[in-house]
């Protein structure tokens, strides 16, 4: 792991009118690691994700990719920086098959300008194989016939195919059963092993503790703490989420009551 984190946010502020959703948030995500972003409802997780993805623009604060300051002003610009968000609603076309979905908007073409189906199918197979995906029977299967876990797999594989540097997974296991959750979590691990900086947004404490290397806890729009997984236990994380502090960790008692600093 290099010393420069792939994604670094410093002092990010974001407000919608009079409502301060994020204030002075510092956040880092390193290549080859899974960084979990947790917090209670309304803590600002989604807003932070949307700021990184270029859907919202930050009011203040620094944004560094590979140590270089950048500005993200729209989703296309974010994609060009190698940032990919896998949304909860997945954004797959049900009437298309897996290959067609994985290459949507970036279709390969032959010299004649027609679709290069063979190259696309081969690359899709290779990508799924590199992630050791075995749950998908055929890459020419229609997405409509896939289960939730399989769809999540396709959506994640898409980001690998496009060589994204930073992949944000928004609640990837929220709608899944036990076995499927397990498969998706393994996939998340393998994604990180390929050198991607994975940001996992989740409500599920088990998932987070199982796969994360680093845990960032948001509390009322502030970053309560970003800690190494190895340094904390479940109780501490839960305390950070619910109270903003846990012993020495987290916000000061004054801050954690929501008072303005």
């Amino acid at each position: 792991m290099s010393d420069t984190p792939t994604l670094q946010l410093r002092g990010v502020d974001k407000s919608f009118g009079p409502v301060h959703v994020l204030s002075a948030v510092d956040f880092t995500a390193a290549a080859g690691e899974v960084t979990a972003l947790v917090g209670d409802n309304g803590a600002g997780k989604t807003t932070l994700v949307n700021c990184v993805g270029g859907i919202y623009q930050v009011d203040a604060g620094e944004f560094l990719v590979d140590g270089k300051p950048v500005t993200v002003h729209d989703p296309r610009n974010a994609a060009a920086l190698g940032i990919e968000i896998v949304y909860q609603d997945l954004a797959l076309c049900e009437n298309l098959n897996i290959v067609q979905n994985m290459f949507l908007g970036r279709e390969r073409r032959t010299r004649l300008g027609t679709l290069d189906e063979n190259t696309m199918e081969k690359l899709a197979r290779q990508t799924l194989a590199s992630l050791s995906v075995r749950t998908v029977r055929s890459v020419r299967q229609g997405v409509a016939s896939l289960s939730g876990g399989q769809r999540q797999t396709v959506a994640i594989a898409k980001s690998v195919l496009w060589k994204s540097k930073i992949v944000i997974l928004d609640e990837p296991t929220a709608a899944l059963g036990v076995a499927q959750t397990e498969q998706v979590l393994q996939l998340v691990r393998r994604l990180a092993e390929q050198g991607v900086a994975v940001i996992l947004v989740s409500h599920n404490m088990n998932d987070v503790l199982q796969v994360a290397d680093s845990i960032a806890v948001l509390y009322l729009g502030r970053l309560a703490a970003q800690v190494r997984r190895a340094d904390v236990n479940q109780t501490q994380v839960v305390e950070l989420i619910t109270a903003g502090r846990s012993g020495e960790l987290g916000l000061s008692p004054a801050e954690s009551t929501g008072a303005t600093v």
Binding site: L90, E94, L96, G105, T114, Q126, L128, R134, R137, A144
Partner: protein, 428 residues
């Protein structure tokens, strides 16, 4: 989301492509085809079945139904419907509707006829003017839909009415404009290609189809992907060749009953409009199945939000389909004018559009967007033409037109209901 669909398929690691392990390619192909059918992707099966069953019924009750004369009549009646349905499929793929395609076709044909007769323009200029009008109309309607955000139903209902009026104004008081008798435009639906040309067309079509399929299979083999089994390709090519040869043979029979040794005006050969149909089908099928634009049409029809996130400019796609639909409506209007050898002041009104939408839906195109192919227009159009043609022989008397409307409406409703039920099956 069945748990069953999630079962882990055990395969050897070194070959990710080995889903065919131990099984012959034909078995794999058949299995995946059956799985698709079971999953609600029926393709052309319902339209094919319908076409065969309905034709068989009419052939039994009305002996002249399968005569060369009647088959030719069927084809030239179906042509304007098929052409319009081809255009409508683009709009339907996006889950939109163009209620004005019929009257757009009528208006474009009227523009052409008026240019020809009142301005003395050459026929090709008239055709270009009609096509250009179609494109312009489509672009405007698409712009209203995509940029202003008026539902397509309302836009095209308005233009349905307005274009009917515009045609009426253009044609004026005399009720119809008769096309010049020597014009090649009339020949489109009313004269026939030489016999050799029909067979040549068939040879080109079959050879081209076989070449494309074999080339595809070879490409897949080169890319180390499981290729389509040769047996499947052979069956498809032979089916096309046999059906095509049968049709070409029937079209080669002289249909003019009055021709004899002294009066030698035979009516034999392929109607020219068939060549136009084959050409239009080939072009649009290629666009839908092999180009990036075609892929994006399906994507936008399937999930607009996903398409936008994938970087597809949805509004541009939306405007383009209306332009294609209206241009095809213009071609359809020209074919209809050729069939009637004139443009009536009510051209394209009435049930013209309904028949074309019916053709697309019967063929298998979904009214909900995302599903549809060019072959749907051809098969569906033939089904509709067979129903109209057969009914007109079957139901006689003063109320026959009324019964025809009722039956056609019922068939459309049946097809749309089928589409809705199949779609529900797909979703789960």
């Amino acid at each position: 989301m069945s748990a069953q669909a999630d079962e882990i398929v055990e395969q050897n690691d070194q070959d990710p492509a080995a889903e065919v392990e131990g099984l012959p390619a034909l078995t794999v192909y058949t299995r995946s085809y059956l799985a698709r059918v079971k999953g609600g992707q029926l393709g052309s099966i319902p339209a094919m079945t319908g076409l065969i069953v309905i034709s068989a019924v009419f052939a039994v009750v009305h002996p002249g139904f399968l005569s060369a004369y009647n088959i030719e009549a069927l084809v030239i009646q179906a042509a304007p419907i098929i052409i319009m349905a081809m255009g409508l499929i683009f709009v339907l793929l996006l889950g939109e509707i163009d209620l004005s395609a019929g009257t757009t076709g009528g208006l474009c044909a009227a523009i052409m006829a008026v240019l020809l007769l009142r301005r003395g323009a050459p026929w090709w200029l008239g055709v270009i003017a009609a096509l250009a009008s179609g494109v312009a109309i489509g672009l405007s309607m698409g712009w209203l839909r995509a940029r202003i955000g008026i539902p397509s139903f309302v836009i095209t209902l308005a233009t349905f009415l307005a274009f009917q009026g515009a045609t009426l104004i253009l044609i004026g008081g005399q009720g119809s404009v008769i096309l010049p008798g020597n014009s090649p435009l009339i020949g489109l639906e009313n004269s026939f290609s030489p016999l050799w040309a029909g067979w040549a067309l068939l040879a080109v079509a079959v050879a081209g189809y076989a070449a494309i399929k074999i080339n595809d299979a070879a490409g897949r083999r080169r890319a180390a992907l499981p290729p389509t089994p040769m047996a499947v390709i052979a069956v498809k090519v032979v089916t096309l060749a046999v059906l095509g040869a049968l049709f070409t043979y029937v079209m080669g029979i002289n249909r003019n009953l009055t021709s004899n040794a002294f009066f030698d005006n035979k009516a034999q050969g392929m109607p020219w409009v068939v060549l136009l149909l084959v050409l239009l089908f080939a072009v649009w099928h290629f666009v839908l199945s092999r180009t990036r634009y075609g892929r994006h049409l399906y994507a936008v029809g399937g999930n607009e939000e996903a398409s936008r996130r994938a970087g597809i400019v949805v509004s541009r796609i939306r405007i383009s389909v209306f332009a294609i639909c209206s241009a095809m409506a213009a071609v359809s209007g020209i074919a209809a004018a050729s069939l009637l050898q004139s443009v009536q002041s009510n051209a394209g009104a009435g049930n013209t559009l309904l028949l074309a939408v019916g053709a697309a839906v019967i063929g298998g195109t979904s009214l909900f967007g995302g599903h549809g192919r060019m072959i749907d227009a051809v098969l569906g159009g033939l089904v509709v033409a067979v129903i109209i043609n057969g009914m007109s022989d079957l139901i006689q008397g003063s109320n026959s037109a009324g019964y025809e409307y009722v039956v056609t409406g019922a068939v459309l409703l049946l097809a749309a209901g089928f589409d809705a039920v199949v779609r529900r099956g797909r979703a789960t």
